[in-house]
Symmetry: C2
Subunit: 426 residues, 2 copies
């Protein structure tokens, strides 16, 4: 038989181009759901890695290394031929021509998914940031780790008794999960890992004060679990001040409620503000900068633009804003990917609905609280669930194994492996 003539490559139908900004939980889950779809996907992030933010406090307290909780974006989505990864920051968006700009480089889109996350906010007091760094990025975590470890080193050398006391006082502002986790981890660092390392100071005498403006810590949890969390934290030696809004922060400490607390090290875990995505697209937003989105997470007037994760103000069925947590962002990313696919096929799907599988906050070794709605847990059981869940959700086999080993090692030795003071003073 004679060979048929080569028909040449098939005519390419116009493939829609989907640009995703941000490779956090939301953006990455959207990208993964669009892997191998009949669309060209461009994933833009200013970092080359996806960061597992829920464990960032462990980097800040020397329990884990940055590379344990970060995975290169290219390594995660490298298997999908239709995804292009770009390293860079989006600076503006032309919603009329449908072009995002990374510097001067135009990135045209048919669909745009904004998943740019949030930064910490100082309620109009940006000058507090120098004294009280927040915890959102790897550089924040290594900076906080540097400050905490240096405070003990300086206390060991200090000749002045007042200065030594200020150096051994630590204040964490904000009683949400991040603040609680930071305070608990700092207590364990000072009571356990550093306990015998110094000659002139006793790190176990370090004072760790958790300050919360509202009436209770862990306000998104049921009141009984708030109470349990407080008791578990106090057992670790953390002092808790509730109903104590912070009105001043400087290099010497904070004013919380009507009390002045001297402390050389202050950590900010009190407020977040969305990234400037709302400004880029000129969209309606709330005071924290979150874009008010439609029930399908698209932007009013722009059915081709979606906002997800901490950058979005999405409402649950009762009309309450969804919390800024990883599961919300992941489910939203997955939903938007599915929605775009359906729309391209002309099959509409219903509004986004968040499925809450439970809230967890860890406090320390064998101490945590867990709220699954139908059951509330505390102590060892909650802590084991927290541990397994976090290892399970970590991306990449290697990171899972490394973190698991670090934790097993820390559990038995009480030591912390990543006690490095790196980088110079900011």
């Amino acid at each position: 038989m004679a060979a048929l003539p080569d028909p040449g490559p098939p005519l390419a139908p116009t493939r829609p181009r989907i640009v995703i900004v941000g490779a956090g939980f939301g953006g990455l889950s959207a990208a993964q759901a669009l892997g191998n779809a009949a669309a060209d996907v461009v994933l833009v992030d200013r970092d080359n890695y996806h960061l597992f933010q829920p464990l960032l406090y462990q980097v800040a307290t020397a329990g884990l290394s940055p590379s344990d909780i970060a995975a290169p974006i290219r390594a995660i989505v490298g298997r999908y031929d239709n995804i292009t990864v770009l390293l860079g920051a989006i600076e503006r968006i032309d919603t009329v021509r449908r072009v995002a700009y990374m510097g001067k480089r135009p990135i045209p889109y048919d669909f745009l998914i904004l998943a740019t996350g949030a930064r910490h906010a100082y309620f109009g007091h940006d000058e507090w940031e120098r004294f009280a760094p927040g915890l959102k990025r790897i550089e924040d975590a290594t900076e906080i780790r540097r400050r905490i470890l240096l405070a003990f080193e300086r206390a060991e050398c200090a000749d002045d008794e007042d200065e030594r006391r200020r150096l051994m006082n630590f204040v964490v502002v904000g009683g949400g999960p991040t603040g609680v986790e930071m305070a608990g981890a700092m207590a364990e660092l000072s009571r356990r890992a550093l306990a015998r390392d110094f000659q002139r100071i006793d790190p176990r005498a370090a004072r760790i004060v958790l300050v919360e403006a509202g009436p209770r810590i862990l306000p998104t949890f049921p009141e009984t679990l708030s109470h349990d969390g407080r008791r578990q934290l106090e057992r670790l030696g953390v002092e808790i001040r509730t109903g104590a809004p912070v009105t001043a922060v400087d290099g010497e400490g904070v004013v919380a409620g009507d009390e002045r607390i001297d402390a050389r090290t202050v950590i900010w875990a009190a407020g977040v503000a969305a990234s400037p995505a709302a400004k880029w697209i000129g969209a309606d937003h709330d005071r924290a900068g979150r874009v008010k989105v439609n029930p399908d997470l698209s932007v009013p007037g722009h059915p081709e633009i979606f906002v997800i994760g901490d950058t979005a103000l999405a409402l649950d069925v009762e009309g309450k804003p969804l919390p800024g947590v990883a599961p919300v962002a992941k489910q939203q990313g997955h939903y938007v990917a599915r929605l775009i696919g359906s729309r391209l096929r002309g099959q509409p799907i219903g509004a986004f609905r968040y499925r809450n599988y439970g809230n967890l906050a860890t406090i320390g070794r064998k101490a945590a609280v867990a709220d699954f709605g139908w059951i509330r847990l505390r102590g060892l059981v909650a802590w084991l669930i927290w541990t397994v869940a976090h290892i399970y959700y970590l991306i990449g086999f290697r990171n899972r194994v490394m973190v698991a080993l670090d934790w097993v090692w820390a559990y038995f030795t009480f030591q912390r492996g990543a006690r490095l003071i790196t980088e110079r003073e900011r």
Copy 2:
């Protein structure tokens, strides 16, 4: 029987005070050998960790994390009650009053051990440092890692063909063990770990050029092993230029011999200069700043001051300078500790003699050279010995396990776990 009256604490004999500056291989081994001795030991370092420098190139090429090869000094010597650890930099030394100064803080000594190591040197061209960072500290390694990974990211985005080529060219200056290890690891990073991660560039096409001024690479090894090393490197795809001294370095590349090599990323592994210890004590030194020491490693005219490791110019039995490698520093630290103990007991010991157990340099996966004097090895066997030796000498059980696991993982997957671009542009 009536109890004897309490005799009170025994009269404390005057305990000598030994100050060790630097907690690298030399200083740390001296401190450990003096642990629990009848002397007060003060160990001063500007970092809070001991760094396992021979593996620093693996941090620079994203194979290991900083915390894998660094261990907190306090955790290492914490078990010795007679050792005080101070974090800070010595700025001057009063050899008449026998006081070292950490800033304004005086640290008096009876014996002083200077083990402050070396920095890279640019042969009078300090302006090259910006363009061609060296590899001595953790911050150097994360900076080099940042530059290498960013070069590929920028090449992926580059529209100009010349610029893309410059971004994909890498030059390593210096053909000693560090340069060889860097070039080999960069070849493996580009040929293996990154191979499939990009869409517009092929990282396997990256050009890695190793430039050496002398006639052969690995000049401290026997000529046959130099030759083997060269062949193994070339098999990995590294281009080697020998007899090519570097006469210019700028942001666009280097001039080596009579050739201009365009490259956005240049790594400096060519020369070292001792720390300024010689200046502190006004001692005689060579051009690289190394203090000329007596056969017992003391400073001429100062029997109470010892200089060890890369800061010392010590001679072997044939009158040749000892190389700046970890085993020399460790043996010297141990020797000086023993010497001080003997002197206090009035029992003199002989001059320092270096016992060379062999030289190793790794080139890449299953590629290395080893010279044990009585036998010379290359390839897989040398590489296995190198691997086992480096794990064995790593300090701390945890680091050993973590590095071993990282290596096993990398061996089977060809991936590199620490591919993070952190910190901002310097």
